[in-house]
Structure formats: structure tokens, C-alpha cells
Symmetry: D2
Subunit: 338 residues, 4 copies
Amino acid sequence: MTLKIGVIGTGAIGREHIKRITNNLSGGKIVAVTDVNQESAKSAVEQFSLDAAIYPDDKALVADANVDAVLVTSWGPAHEQSVLAAIEAGKYVFCEKPLATTAEGCMRIVEAEMKHGKRLVQVGFMRRYDSGYVQLKEAIDSNYIGEPLMIRCVHRNPEVGDNYTTDMEINDTLVHEIDVLHWLINDDYKFVQVAFPKKTKRAAAHLQDPQLITLETNSGIIITAEVFVNCKYGYDIQCEVIGEEGVAYLPEFSGIATRKEAKFGTSILMDWKQRFIAAYDKELQDFMDSIKNTGEPNGPTSWDGYIAAVTADACVKSQQTGEKELVVLADKPDFYKN
Amino acid sequence: MTLKIGVIGTGAIGREHIKRITNNLSGGKIVAVTDVNQESAKSAVEQFSLDAAIYPDDKALVADANVDAVLVTSWGPAHEQSVLAAIEAGKYVFCEKPLATTAEGCMRIVEAEMKHGKRLVQVGFMRRYDSGYVQLKEAIDSNYIGEPLMIRCVHRNPEVGDNYTTDMEINDTLVHEIDVLHWLINDDYKFVQVAFPKKTKRAAAHLQDPQLITLETNSGIIITAEVFVNCKYGYDIQCEVIGEEGVAYLPEFSGIATRKEAKFGTSILMDWKQRFIAAYDKELQDFMDSIKNTGEPNGPTSWDGYIAAVTADACVKSQQTGEKELVVLADKPDFYKN
Amino acid sequence: MTLKIGVIGTGAIGREHIKRITNNLSGGKIVAVTDVNQESAKSAVEQFSLDAAIYPDDKALVADANVDAVLVTSWGPAHEQSVLAAIEAGKYVFCEKPLATTAEGCMRIVEAEMKHGKRLVQVGFMRRYDSGYVQLKEAIDSNYIGEPLMIRCVHRNPEVGDNYTTDMEINDTLVHEIDVLHWLINDDYKFVQVAFPKKTKRAAAHLQDPQLITLETNSGIIITAEVFVNCKYGYDIQCEVIGEEGVAYLPEFSGIATRKEAKFGTSILMDWKQRFIAAYDKELQDFMDSIKNTGEPNGPTSWDGYIAAVTADACVKSQQTGEKELVVLADKPDFYKN
Amino acid sequence: MTLKIGVIGTGAIGREHIKRITNNLSGGKIVAVTDVNQESAKSAVEQFSLDAAIYPDDKALVADANVDAVLVTSWGPAHEQSVLAAIEAGKYVFCEKPLATTAEGCMRIVEAEMKHGKRLVQVGFMRRYDSGYVQLKEAIDSNYIGEPLMIRCVHRNPEVGDNYTTDMEINDTLVHEIDVLHWLINDDYKFVQVAFPKKTKRAAAHLQDPQLITLETNSGIIITAEVFVNCKYGYDIQCEVIGEEGVAYLPEFSGIATRKEAKFGTSILMDWKQRFIAAYDKELQDFMDSIKNTGEPNGPTSWDGYIAAVTADACVKSQQTGEKELVVLADKPDFYKN
Ligand SMILES: [Mg+2]
Ligand SMILES: [Mg+2]
Ligand SMILES: [Mg+2]
Ligand SMILES: [Mg+2]
């Protein structure tokens, strides 16, 4: 049984996923595409020799009876409408982050999905599929390090373009930590606070970089997260969980080690694309496999998309106030408990 | 275009590859199977819901016009006959190691393939597809560590069964180093010598374990390889290339690190299957992709299978004589130069 | 020329220093001792076969014309009086932390020393003499990692006794970070804030453990320091400086590495005494050498003792208020610049 | 009680030890010096403001009744005569390596010392005092890694001068491994063999570099030692003991770690003098302390010097023959067992 997939948005990320499904993964097939730029849609079909219908817009694509599932890889502000259309039509959805650009938009999706009565949506938070995070979660869940008390995260990037703004350190960068950490410790955020350390000379005038974000959970775990997108030296993701019995670390990227010029060193990635490349494959493969095996996707849910939106909003507010801000989440519906 | 594959041998490794091609990789399809045990062939078809013909033997399978390529995953002594039959029929072959159980058998395959006039065969030496070895080769080829002068390898296994014999440390275990190292340094072996250090109490009475193997190449590089299959603590593959400008190491397996009970440690695998799991995927994907894109497989050739057989024979001879033994290779045909 | 030293306080730390000066270091000699417990003073003389006068109190010891320098290793509340007496008599002083138990007491010592007109006092903050911190300071001072923007410290202890209280996480434990960090970055603290993460079940009922302390410097560097004195797994001191060009780490303790039981690990100390053992030797040797060579001690000054007291007070206040607290330092006198 | 020491040889190493004893260590005092170059002897006295007699030669120095112990730091060929003279006079001797330049010379010292009836001599093999080797020995002796089966050593130097010859890779460089390894495993060497890998272009025309030395012990442990004195990248001493239960490694030098320019690295020393600087202090302090406390030195004995000479001779012979050579040791006298 092959999952027939329609793609909404044939830009860079859309094509990455088309390539993945067509050439590297098993069980899926691209049968329809659309893009606000119709030329882009056509060229994607040609590039991968797809046997796929080209639609003028998301609504038309979703209406195609041949489409089982929809991949939403358009720009962020368009996500909500496409996801809602797909749910309306009872189609599965894999939606790249953000699920919607506002917490309210995310809640509308949550409500539509609950009304439909079955989980249809998976959000593209790929870190949950990274073997390092999976091992870290196992170390926590097996109680190997005891009860988690503190977490320390680092999210560093060599540099960013000029259009990268202060709030994007939260919405585009920290959002990956926001999602993966609450999954890791199975807890929800209660307070957040953002501090601005001394600024690097490499950041644009309008950009506050680095930033230090503190997140406190309901059970009292304190998370310290550093976002530093002009760190120059590499793309570097770190996560350290300090528990009652010990400490566990996300693995370093597995590069060759060398002894040369008075240094014993291992390579650090410069390009973020390589860091989670296996996780991108796994999240989509799991999306297709879970639907085949259980009738529902098994990854990050609409509710996780909502949590990310509310938490990121609180962080952005704290960037402005400098104060500790409350994370006000609605009660979690039973529908999303498992 | 899908590569239609017939599988000869539906035991454990055969099924791993069937599963891989069916569920994880792209571009291939199992269309035929056979096994000396017909029940096994049938059960494999059922297990993976294959739409595949079941044949009484390798000759019948190879004769199926629907079969583009053959996967040889029977027991070692049967490989040569199946590979020769496939070449005879002009079919592509992916053959698990050994290509044949004797150097002469490998040479018969080499000659049959040259007579056919195009490369058809890939041998299942998967390490060349491991990202660590690939990075190591890049470090060498880019001259980052200068001219290689020495190599030091370690191949350790927690334990082996009672039927594992002294010569298997060469034929089953060291053979992976034999293949990957001459590829890594693009050089051929000239002498080998095996020494027996103090024996571990964990080895069976009949088994010499550990063993230290020295391989010297035409250009004078000396390789020291330790094989230790009852090392108890883990499955551990190491490779260190010492060059004129520096030293490069195969990456350690990327496990989580922990601080616990007065140790800062990273996990070592106990199960060898996990170590090269991504490489198994990549070797088969590359086999299928290369045939599609260039009309020939691109991995380890019949000639590489022949080199492995001759070198392993010299090592086994040295196990018996205790002396340095010559590795007598035929001249490399132009057919296998590239 | 031998520096003739009188010791005030012959408890455990006093005897460690007596042993050091007598058996391991060069250029010093214990010529006088005193202790509130006269039996302790006598037994110290016997234990190390000292040729030393035994005095009834600090004033009498300081008055001995044969005494060039005084070692203050009594209990904390007695330090101020002994240091003032020594300055009054124009004797050099090596005083274990705290210099005085209050900021006002430290200021009285500062003023007495300035009145005397020459630096006489060194405070026993030994970390500045640890080769790891020295290397870290070189990396910063040579601009190898660029301008420091953030620092992250960890101070973990396996366990503490029942008499260890919440404020001691600052006054006894964090105080070492307080001293060494402002020296490392050559900057002063402006704000501090203490947060209480989820408490470990291993801490006594009255003890808040772990604690997360944030210190912000005049130039905007933000330091995050974790104090966790019941971490169970080991004594572990970490320090990471994040700069504009890169990141530098305090070395891990240099223990043997092992591969055993599926772990590749290095040993972590359980006993804090071993961690800075070389630094204790170096601080005292430098005290004696500097006096011999330049007429003044060269280590942490009375002013550094004052900074530690003021900063620790602000941290303890923040433990109580939960708020960010200002560190109000007097202007640094020229006397203490470089 | 102060040990009064006479120094024979006031070149670079002699002065290092004079400085050490005078400024850094406790319990010793330089009371006499001599050198074939009398000006050197005089300038050493001045440099360190010694209160020491200057003698015309070793015999005169040894005859000084004020001298308790002799430090032999002249050039190698002169060692034997000075050591014999000191033993004759019943004086303690700390002799830098080599004890004598021939095995016969070492045996003459052994016999003289046995005739004297008490151990007087310590040879300057400082690695036994390195905290890394001490930890490694503890790991072995406590059976933490089980019975040792193999050892792998590396001795690398960035570069050597033109006067460094092929045999010096054994006599000056490997000799440190020869001494420390038989102490580490409490076993004696039986066979040695030297192989010459591909030569680095950085070695002088007359110099074979690197070299691979195999040493086999009486119990069957096989040691593989690499000597590479033009490795360019750093001074690097490695030692790995492979046992029945696990593997233990000599610690890496404890330098700061950095993340910079796409590398996570720790520094490697370029200058060999820093590597064992603490061990040099400890060996001399132990020499003085042991004499004071037990009446005999406790470090490497004359017999250890003899073992080093015989083993190095066999290695040099193998450099010439290319064959495995027997290490022919006399039976160990009870005098040297403990
Ligand atoms: Mg994603
Ligand atoms: Mg294979
Ligand atoms: Mg101190
Ligand atoms: Mg020495």
C-alpha cells in the first residue's frame, strides 16, 4: 500500500521532501503538487520526473480523491489555511513548522482536528527523530540519571543573513528546543524569561545576539537555553540533562578526529543541513509507516504545535519586557493524551 | 524505473536485505526468491507480502526474464556458482562476502565478468559506505594528514559462539579490514604476518584469541590490526591513519555521554548489527542507483573480492607458519582500473 | 633567604599548609604556631617536628620579631582580628577564605593595608593557581576566543553533611567561582540573581540544592553558575567561556580512560581535595617567592576578598528575595589596580 | 634532616635539577658541584647562589665527607665511572639515563652495589612518577581491566635535529617505554623486533623514522610501540593496555578544550619538557624522602638500568637484522626483588 501524497509548496524544503519520498524512502508517492508560483510546481514535477497532477491552489489539490495525505511546505503564513482545508477533507497532513503563525491559529487547527475525531496532523519537528535525542529520552525514561532537575541547551549557528531578526531567535531557532524539550521530560512550561548578554560584534545592528532563555516547567525543572546565531565557529546543538543520579548529554556530531598542528580535535559541522539529515528521513518515513500501520500519524501533534506557538509568544514578550513571563496554555484535551 | 531483484538465499541476511529494499530503500523491488529450503523461500514471501515468484534453485531464478539483478545471500560455499550463473545470464549481482570461498573461485568470477565485458558484480563490503570511513578517506585523499605511513586497526567483539574458529578471525572478521583498508589508501598488500598474544581466558580451548595481524603494502605502509572477538566490553571498530602531517581516526560510535558514578563516559555498542546499519542501507541503495544512472554497480568489485580472498589465505597460512607470508596477487586487469 | 612563618590555627587546613611548607615547598619555615586550643598547637609542633615557638594567641605570635609572615587558618569569624593584628605589626599575611565574615570587615582590612602603604595580604583563593584556569585566562587574554560574551560554570559535589546550609552554597562554594571569574575576565559584577530549580531528594530538608546563580558584569557578560552539592556522581568543576570567535573550556581532570562494560569513560574525582592539590602548593610557593623577589605578595588581594564578600552578600540576599540584586562595590582604590 | 647533594655535570639537565632541589623541593641542598668544564661548574654556583664547593672531578666530589648523595647528570659515557666511584664511597646516587652505555657497564654497577650490601642507586626514569602511569598501574594491579594481553604505545615528537640517528629512536626515545612498561606489567621482555614503515619525508636522509617495535614478554603479552620523532604535530605519549575485562589508557595531557573554526579540540604539547614536569619533581623528591625515611632510594634500580640496556641492545640488533631478537637477561638477584 502506497501513501499518495500532494505537496503544497514546491520551494526548497518542498523539493527536499519530494526527493526524499521519491528516492530515499519507501511507501510514499507524490501524486499532486501546487505552488503559488505555478512555474515552480511545473519545474518540480520535471526535476523529479513525477507522475503528478499540478493544481492551481491548495483547495484544488486537497479535493483530489487520489490524494491521501498533504505535505504543507509553503511559507509560514499560508500553513493554517492549507492544514484546515486538509482536515476538512479528512486528509492526513504533514506540516512544516510553524503549524500556524499564531497561537489562535494553532487552536483553530486543534479544534478542527478534534471535531474530525481522529488525529490527522503531524508537525515537522524533526529532532524527536534524531538518534541522539532518542537515546537521551531513553536515558531519562529508564531513570538512568534519576529525576531531571535542570537542562542546559545550546543552539549555535555560524552566521545569519541580514533579514534575521531578534524575534526569529525564538520563532525560528529556539522553537526546536521548545518542542523537543517538553517531549524529552514530559512536562509543560510555566514561566519563560529572556536575557540579552553582551552582543557579538558580528550581529547586525538590529539583532540582539546571543540570547539566554530560561524556561521553568510545572514541576520546577529550570532550562537554560543559549541561542547564538553568529557564533562563527560552527553549527552546534548541545543538550545536557542534569538529574538526581547523573548527567546525560546529547551526542556530539560524529566526525573524524584528528591530531594535527598541536590540536586533538573532532570536526564540527558548519552546515546545519547535515546535522539532522537522518532525522528528516525518519520523521517522514514514520509519518507514512504510522498511517499505514495504525491509521494515525505518530509524531508531534497539532497540540505540540500549539504549545510551541504559546511558549514562543511568551518568550518574544519577555524579549520586550525583560521580565519573567507566564506561559498560559489551555487545558490539554484528552484527545491529545496518550 | 524500478530494479527487479531476485534473492538467492532467504535466511537472516537475505531477509534483512528484502526488508530493506521493500520498506526502507527506493528504486528496487523483490520479484523472485529461492532457497535450498523451499519453506524458507515461501515464508519470506509471506513475511514481507511480496509479489514474487518462488523458484526451486538459483539457475531457475536467474533465468527469469523479469529479474534484472540477483542478491546472493546463501551460505558462502554456494556463492560462486550463483554468481557465475548470474553473469552467464547477464544479470547484475550483489553478493554478500565471500565472493567465493577460494581465490581460484574469485578468479573464475573475475574472468567470467571480463568475458561478459561489463561490470555486473558488487561484493557486500559495506564499510566503504560508512560515513566514518568516507570521512577518513576524504581526509587522506585531500592530503589533510599527508602521506599515510602507518595504520592501526582494532576489531573487537564482546564474545563469539563455540563454533567460531581461529581461521575465522581472518576469514569472517579481519576480512572487513582487508577490504576497506586497501580502498582507503589505494594500495595493495605485499606481506602479512599473524602473531598470537597471550590468550584470553574467555576464548574456547580451540580458539586463538586475540590475534595481531601485520599487513605491509607495496608502498611500505605498515598496518597493525588487532582482532579480539572475546573482548567482553563491547563491539568496537577503530581505525587510525598516521600520516606525515597528522593522524586521523575513524569516529567513535555516536552514543550519549553521561556523568555518573565517578565516570564521564560514552556508550559503546554491544551489538554489531547497529554499528553499520546505515552503511547496509547505503550499499544497497548505491547498487540500485548506480545501475540506474550508469549501467554498472559502483561498489566493491569482483577484483576486490579476489584481493580479499588472496590476502586472507596468506594470513591463514601465517597463522600456521608464524612467518611473514607473501601476498601473491595476479596483475590487476585494466578492466578493474578506473 | 627563608621566610619565617607563624601559623594561627592548627586545625586540618593549618596542618595541611604546615606540611606543605615543611615537606614540599621551598623557601619557608614554620617558626611559630598558636591555636585557641593550645593542645592542638603543641601536637602540630610534634607531628611535624617543628622548631617553632608556641604562643597563647594571635597577638603574641604576631609580636614575635622572628615571624616574617603569618598564615591565618583559624575559623572564619577569627580571621579579621588576626589579619588586622598582622598588618598593624607590618607582617605579611596569607589568609584562608573568608578574609572577613562581612564586607565591612574586609573594608577595614583594606583600609589598614592602604594605611600601612604596601600590600601585605594574600587571600587563599587557590584556583587562580590551577593550570587549567591559567590556560583559560591565557586563551582569553590572547584573544584566541575573542571577546567573552557568556560564561557557564558548574560546581558539583557528591554530597554534603547535614550542617551545610542554603547560604553556604554561596559563601563556601560559589565564592570560589566569584573570585576566579572576575579575575578571568578582568571585569566586575553588577547584578546577581539566584534561582532554585527542582530540589534533589538527596538534599536535607532545610537545604535548597541545586541552585542556579546568574551574575552580570559591568560590560554585560552574563555568567550562569550551577551549584549542586548533592549531585552524587562526583566532584566536578566546569567552566566554559563563550567568546565572539569561539569557546574555551576548563580542562577535565586528567584521569585514565577505560573501555569497559559498554562504556568508554574517564574517571571523575569523588574527593575534592585532589582537584586543586597542585594549586594549593603553587599559591603558597608563589606567596613566598613573590615576597622574596618583589617585597609583596602577588596573589588575590584584600580588595579581592572585599569583592567576594560584597558579591556573596548580594547572592544571599537574592536567595531570600528571589529578585535580581545590585552588587554595590566601593570605587577601586589605585592601590589595588594591577 | 637535609640531604647534602653533590652534582656531577652542570649542563642543562644538571641545572634543572639544581634549580628543582634549591627552589621547588624540600629536604635537599646542593653542597658540591663539578663539571669537566670548570667554568660551567662555577657559573652554576653563581646562577643559583649556591653555598657549594667546586671540585675538579667526580672522584674529588665523591670524597667530600659533607656529600651524602650524588646527582649524575654528565654526558652518558661518563656515567658508569661516576656511579661506581659513588658506590665505592658508600654514597647515594641519582643517575640520569643511561646508567651506563653498555649492558656490561650496568652489570658492573649492579655487582658493585650488591657488594656494598644496600641499594644506593636510582636511575632517572621519571615516567614511573607520572600521575597518569601511576593511575594506569593501579588499574592493572587492582585487576580493573583483567589480565593484560596486549599493550600499544606511541612516542611521537614534532621533530629532531640532524644529529639524531636511527639507533637513538631506541636508546634515547624508546628506552622510556622499555623501562616503564615492564614496571607497569611486572613482567620481563623475551623477544623484540623492529620494523621500518614507509619513511616520512621530514626525516634526515640517514634517519629511519618512524619505527615500529614489537616486544614480547615472558608471559606472552605483545607490546606494539611506535616511535615517530618527526611527526610534526606535537609531542604525544600514548599507552593503552588491553586486558581480559577492558582497556585502559594513559590520560591525554590536560589542556584546555576549545570550539573554534569548525573544530572541537584540545591542545597537544609541542614541547616535551612540559609533559613530565611534575614527574621530574616527584622522582627527585621521592629519592630524597625515601632515603630519609627508609635509608634506601625507592625508584628504578640499577637492575632496571641493566634491563633497559640489554633490551635496547636487542632492539638495535633487530634494526640491523630485521629479525626477531632474543632478550638475554641474567637471572634477577634476590637483592633486587621486593
Ligand atoms: Mg522540520
Ligand atoms: Mg555486507
Ligand atoms: Mg584556599
Ligand atoms: Mg629522567
